[in-house]
Amino acid sequence: MIQFSDVSKYFDNESALTDINLSVEKGELVYITGPSGAGKTTLLRLIYRAERPDAGSVVVGGMDVGKLKQGEIPSLRRNTGIVFQDFRLLTNKTVFENVALALRIHGIHPKEIKERVNEVFGDIGLKHKMHEFPQHLSGGEQQMVAIARAIVSKPTVLLADEPTGNLDPDTATIILKLFKEININGTTVVIATHHEALFKGTGRRVVYLKEGRIQKESIA
């Protein structure tokens, strides 16, 4: 599903990622971990073409995403659910509208949008705050909404950047359960986190990044 081949990425001549070779199969759930500044976010951004590799290639669903034409990028991103590390919720819309937006971009019928958004708010247990604005929610709640927006469109690939950074252990467990569910339904899931507790004992593949290089891979 996702294939990194000899990928390097530089920012102002500083290397952020070096010689990354990584393959994630369709239907897999993978953790990317490593200390701050290791390059986790950058690695994810390469997958949805927010960055282009300076060397090597990133192939997603058979497409070399670094070589996509401008007009082909929206469709790549529509098939990718993304939980941004900084949430990126729109402050002038209620959290309901924030989540609905992902479906509107897909051109889904308003009636179905309402049903699906309601459902996902039920899943994350935030139905009672559905019509609040994001800035009136706690950090953890905002994170839940960001996750809801990423999964509501049932994407082919789900990329979650530090999705439990603001969550208490119990809520984190709920979220992980959601990811597992969506994964069972066929979505390929990549989770970037420096919380080792999150994947410990899950039996999933874990990729360790350090200073932009893959240090090791193991099964948690």
Binding site: Q70, G71, P74, R77, R78, I82, R88, A102, R104, R149
Partner: protein
């Protein structure tokens, strides 16, 4: 279709959120459109006035003294064939003298020195408006002069051509002024939409990351631009209508005859103002948004 209505809603929300910038833009565009359309209205009225006046304008064909009634009839027949001539009025020698005496009034005795009536008989011709172009008239005068029995042809060449050039001049000024204002209005919308676009830069970035197409991102801005233009046009239309009604009622109170000369744009052209405003601001908006890059 559903997405479209969502984008319209987004445009409306954005429009309301930035109501002060938008109101200012609507007002600025309205001022520009107002100047253009006021100018057009003045030109229209000058034209109508010209037309009204020139209805009474014509050529005077003076005839030789020696002509018999039959010969005069032949000339009249010839003139009748000319489709540019709307009306032919025969003024006999006696009639001419009578009219002259009337207009001289107290100076009447001046004419007593003449033993014979010195005035020639004439045909007064009224011409079609289209035939009143100075060079066309010159041609016609030349033709009529060729007719045997015609002594002379007189016409108000200077008067006509100066009126015509006044109207032409105003049209040229109007076009130049209009183009300048057109560019200015386009630029105003361009800047506004650009500002609105930058103010939403963060939101637009998020939309892009969520996979929104260019149309999805751009359409609300184009709709907003369109709306601004239409709103300005409607405002100007109503301002102009009421201003026109007010001014003409005031003027006709003073000089009732003016009523025959004043006109407003015909109702079927009313939509041109909102449409024109919309077109101009749409162009500005399209330039402002430019190409969306991912």
């Amino acid at each position: 279709m559903k997405t479209l209505s969502f984008l319209f809603q987004t445009a409306a929300e954005n429009f309301w959120r930035e109501k002060w910038i938008n109101a200012l833009t609507v007002l600025t565009i309205a001022v520009g459109l107002f100047i253009i359309s006021t100018f057009a209205l003045i030109i229209l009225n000058v034209d109508v006035t010209l037309k009204q006046w020139s209805k009474g304008f014509g050529l005077v064909v003076y005839l030789n003294d020696s002509l018999t009634a039959e010969e005069e009839g032949i000339i009249k027949k010839y003139l009748k064939q000319d489709t540019d001539i709307l009306e032919i009025n025969y003024i006999s020698k006696d009639q001419a003298l009578k009219e002259l005496k009337q207009s001289l009034g107290a100076m009447n005795p001046v004419l007593e020195g003449f033993e014979e009536n010195p005035l020639p008989a004439s045909f007064e011709l009224k011409l079609k408006r289209e035939a009143l172009e100075p060079f066309l008239i010159k041609k016609k005068v030349g033709q009529i002069k060729q007719i045997t029995g015609v002594a002379d042809v007189q016409y108000g060449e200077k008067w006509l051509s100066s009126l015509n050039s006044l109207s032409e001049g105003m049209k040229i000024i109007g076009i130049i002024l209009g183009s300048i204002i057109f560019v200015a209005i386009t630029f105003v919308t361009y800047s506004t939409i650009k500002i609105l676009f930058y103010r939403r830069a963060e939101e637009i970035e998020t939309l892009k990351l969520l996979g929104a197409s260019r149309g999805f991102i751009r359409l609300p801005f184009l709709i907003a631009g369109l709306f601004i233009g239409i709103l300005s046009g409607i405002m100007v239309l109503f301002t102009l209508l009421s201003l026109y009604a007010f001014t003409t009622s005031r003027i006709t109170e003073l000089i009732p005859a003016v009523k025959a000369f004043t006109t407003f744009f015909p109702p079927e052209t009313y939509p041109l103002l909102p449409l024109g405003g919309a077109a101009i601001s749409l162009i500005g908006s399209i330039f402002a948004i430019g190409r969306i890059r991912y």
